[in-house]
Symmetry: C2
Subunit: 320 residues, 2 copies
């Protein structure tokens, strides 16, 4: 991060537990990147500006203002300043219209916090839901293909599935999958039977795929199949022994949790193809495998590339 | 617990976290009760006998042997001594045939550990499952009605549903409901939105019942509805405010978890009526309310009465 970086603006993805910033030139190219481990969960409102300056101070001009566009939890009610959720349907090329400006001390900063999206319960089957940060990754899809329509999935702690029509999010659902998986693996009675998470271990892809199919076909049995992992550990002579046993059962747990999630989007999957997965390579590969097991095609967009493209789209819309 | 108690035998329910013992006379009446907070999770094999003597020592005769019949986790592999699972179908009046005798130092003790039940995956849709302790409560049903047939539910951390035919368990399933509920309420992102568990609070029974119906009707949406509790907290203007808000959402969480469980036994519920609930008054009342919401009748058998009747049945079968 040299002082020779002179960006036209700064793109920031500021989440619950960290911050990623990019120094951007006018053409939308990232000149440099800065990270911080300080996210919304560890910051009071007054600490955001110093934290930002610490991360990107070297990029600031001697004079004049540098635009900084921020997506993510920094715009939450418990963040820097609240950027109120935009209700769906929302066109993703218009996110910047809902941006708010936090109070600042440094005259060289011009910060905008992008809003998240919300959804209320309605007669069409939508339920209460919120996202903050993921909407900018979805905007990245629209940045790459104006007027994008289709089904997108952002796997993770709280996995989001969004339907896009002509560049707008029309409906979305969040699944607690990542959190369920982590809690069950580390805190429940199942922890005694579970081992390493490694789908590349012998037989584990097959175990994962079988569990995906089971849970998708019979979501009502989810809670019983969870306990079944424990019982299978105690009873099943066909399972591998030693460490491989726990690895096998861990693959099954992952498959059950993702299979339940896929049962929840069965209707959307039946009509909207392929699914665009946005996220890390490993997690998207796991979801692609699960989708493939159910006969669905998937394509991947890198999570960092998506958020950067989304912030770029929002930045461009400011100058329109 | 006076020294004037001279029981004919001792009934013991020895679980993961505690021990309950009853001094029994020949007619099957409990003369006295003793408790200990030392269960399987806190005991090494060598510690069982001293722990038992501490609890029931005052009841031991000066000479002769006192039979002690134990059900529960004391008979697990990681307990006092393993009493191997009996595979279903198993007649519940024959549990004592699978009992094992642990090594003892005190010549006045004659201890038998009752076995649990296990189930293997088969073509009829059974899956791997185990129970240890609950089979004795189910035996209590048979003790009260010889040749009992029907559907029984033992709600709790790991809720068991068992089908009985002519006094035998033919099939059972365990749901991780209680543990899921506790983990989600205390460890997940939902904890920020949840409050007291109190179905007697205004509107909470209705919220619970609505959530039971939602989850039973659409189990595939379970994981999304969990996150929906968080989103509802952020967005729903019709919810009560203050502490009542968290209490309302807690009732919904309980309803979602129990509703998912009831979806899992939908087929059995359609043909086997009424359900016999075995357990504490409060938890059985909650399950009865959930069942009633779906049009199913329930009756209750107290958990302690059930285990005692089951141990009595096992004791009687020893003298046959």
């Amino acid at each position: 991060m040299g002082t020779d970086v002179s960006p036209a603006w700064i793109a920031v993805d500021w989440g619950s537990s960290n911050l990623r910033a990019w120094a951007m030139d006018e053409s939308g190219e990232a000149l440099a990147r800065a990270d911080s481990e300080r996210g919304m969960l560890s910051l009071t409102p007054a600490e955001y500006e110093p934290t930002l300056l610490e991360a990107i101070g070297a990029w600031l001009p001697r004079t004049g203002k540098l635009p900084v566009l921020v997506c993510g939890m920094a715009g939450a009610r418990q963040g820097w300043r609240e950027a109120a959720y935009l209700p769906v349907p929302t066109r993703l090329d218009g996110l910047a219209r809902g941006a708010v400006r936090p109070p600042l001390n440094d005259p060289r900063l011009e910060v905008r916090l992008l809003p998240g999206l919300c959804q209320r319960r309605d007669a069409d089957g939508r339920t209460f839901d919120v996202m903050r940060g993921e909407e900018t990754q979805l905007a990245g899809l629209v940045a790459r293909e104006s007027g994008f329509s289709g089904l997108a999935c952002l796997p993770g702690t709280h996995a989001k599935w969004a339907r896009l029509e002509a560049g707008a999010v029309t409906r979305f659902e969040t699944f607690l999958s990542g959190e369920l998986y982590r809690l069950l693996a580390s805190q429940s009675v199942l922890r005694h039977s579970l081992g390493e998470d490694d789908l590349d271990a012998p037989g584990c892809r097959e175990a994962f795929v079988a569990a995906v199919r089971e849970a998708e076909a019979a979501p009502e049995a989810f809670s019983a199949r969870l306990f079944g992992l424990r019982a299978q550990d105690l009873l099943d002579d066909t399972l591998p022994t030693g460490d491989a046993r726990g690895t096998h059962l861990m693959a099954r747990l992952s498959g059950l949790v993702i299979g339940l999630e896929l049962a929840g989007v069965r209707e959307a999957l039946a009509t909207l193809q392929p699914v665009t997965l946005i996220g890390s390579e490993a997690l998207c590969a796991r979801y692609a495998l699960a989708l493939q097991a159910l006969g669905h095609a998937a394509q991947r967009l890198d999570g960092s590339a998506a958020v950067l493209a989304g912030l770029e789209l929002a930045h461009a819309s400011l100058s329109d």
